[in-house]
């Protein structure tokens, strides 16, 4: 009723004028999939040409947590490092071996088979997040210098990628 009246008044007093307005409509969508880094990994250096996150070799795997509040709506895709993001000059080609596995779940019934149901897409592991709750993934990585040449002294940093993809 109010909209119709206003439109009529406008037509009577401004018969030849045209007007336009842009009315914004905003909204906020909070993600139902949140990724948190629980602990960053550490490379151990068991020999001159190897960097690894194996605890037995002085390393520590990275732990990433997915918090899902909407079941069966997301895939978790995690890719272990395939290159150094920062490093001293490399004397040869580095070979990368990485793995991802479910380390901890908050729901045994809904998440217990995530690991066996995962799909490997090249270097990337895809998990179907069918249940709500938190899942912790362990990312391991080993870098081996070609020709068993020694890594130069310095700090080496590599980055694993974890993404949440809506179905």
């Amino acid at each position: 009723m109010f909209k119709k009246s206003a439109l009529l008044v406008g037509m009577m007093f401004v018969p030849f004028a045209t007007s336009a307005a842009e009315v914004p409509i905003t909204g906020t969508v909070e993600s139902r999939c949140i990724i948190q880094t629980d602990s960053a990994g550490t490379f151990g250096n068991p020999n001159a040409y190897t960097l690894t996150t194996k605890p037995a070799d002085g390393g520590e795997p990275a732990i990433v947590r997915y918090d899902i509040t909407l079941a069966d709506s997301y895939y978790a895709e995690i890719t272990p490092p395939t290159a150094f993001s920062s490093a001293p000059a490399l004397p040869d080609v580095v070979t990368w071996v990485g793995s991802v596995e479910v380390s901890t779940v908050s729901d045994a019934t809904g998440m217990g088979t995530y690991e066996t149901d995962k799909v490997e897409l090249g270097d990337t592991d895809r998990y179907d997040m069918t249940a709500t709750g938190s899942t912790w993934f362990k990312i391991s990585s080993t870098a081996t210098m070609g020709g068993e040449k020694a890594f130069a002294g310095g700090t080496y940093t590599a980055v694993a990628e974890a993404v949440c993809i809506a179905k």
């Binding site: 901890t104 779940v105 908050s106 045994a108 019934t109 217990g112 690991e115």
Partner: protein
Amino acid sequence: MLLPGYSYSESLVPYYGTTGNAITDQSLRWSMDNVLPNPPGLEIDTVIYNYTIRKETEDQVDVYVGNENASGTGYIFREHDQWRPGSLDGTEINKVVGVGRIHRDLWGDGSIDVVGNGSVENPNLIYTYRVDPCYDPQYNPNCPGYKPPEIKVPEYDIYDATSGDANQAQYNPDDELYDDEEGMSDDDKEKQEEEEEKDSKERLEKALAAADNSALFAQALSQSQVLDTMNQVTNMNSYYAQSIDGGTYRESIQLTDSQLPDNRRGLRNNLAQQRLHQQMVDEQYK
């Protein structure tokens, strides 16, 4: 081994706390009396637990985590972790379960039960709780709903020994009791009065002696209190706080003279003594 630990406060504002690990041995059973503190207004908010499952991939293992209902049958809290075939050995579960403030009295013994071919490793379970000090309003006069305690004086039937016909007769001696006195001679009456007067003086002396003793006792007690007060005021800390540095304390006085002459007066005195001694010895041969 982690021991249960908790915090406690005398404030009237509700406060929160967390227990230690309730599971302290391999029996996977625990008593809440050993886990929770005992303030009356304690309510459990959350149960947080984690463990690592040990199983073959193709097996199904069911793990039940719960607390018995202390005021009835069944469980006040129970979680079922269903590890289906395909779930891997060594997977950890980390679970937070809100229970919505259930009073401590309802929480019975806790347990983790494993059904199937598997086991749990490194179990850890803690409770978070909230304590309302004014759960019992009579805890503190500032608590809402506090009622000042009413002092009830018990009512007794007062027995009046002088009332009643039967007793009245006993305490109103009739005239016959005084017949003997009237029959006494004047000498006897005089002796009786003297004896009564003597007895009265003795009683008075005893009473005064008792009063003196009480006064002396009070005076001694007062003096003792004064001495105690003086001793408390005396500050001995400065004496206790002194310390002597360790090490070697060497002689600091040195004699600079290279030659010390004999005291001539001393020599003379010594000879005089010797002469006197000789005279005394010689006396016995005279």
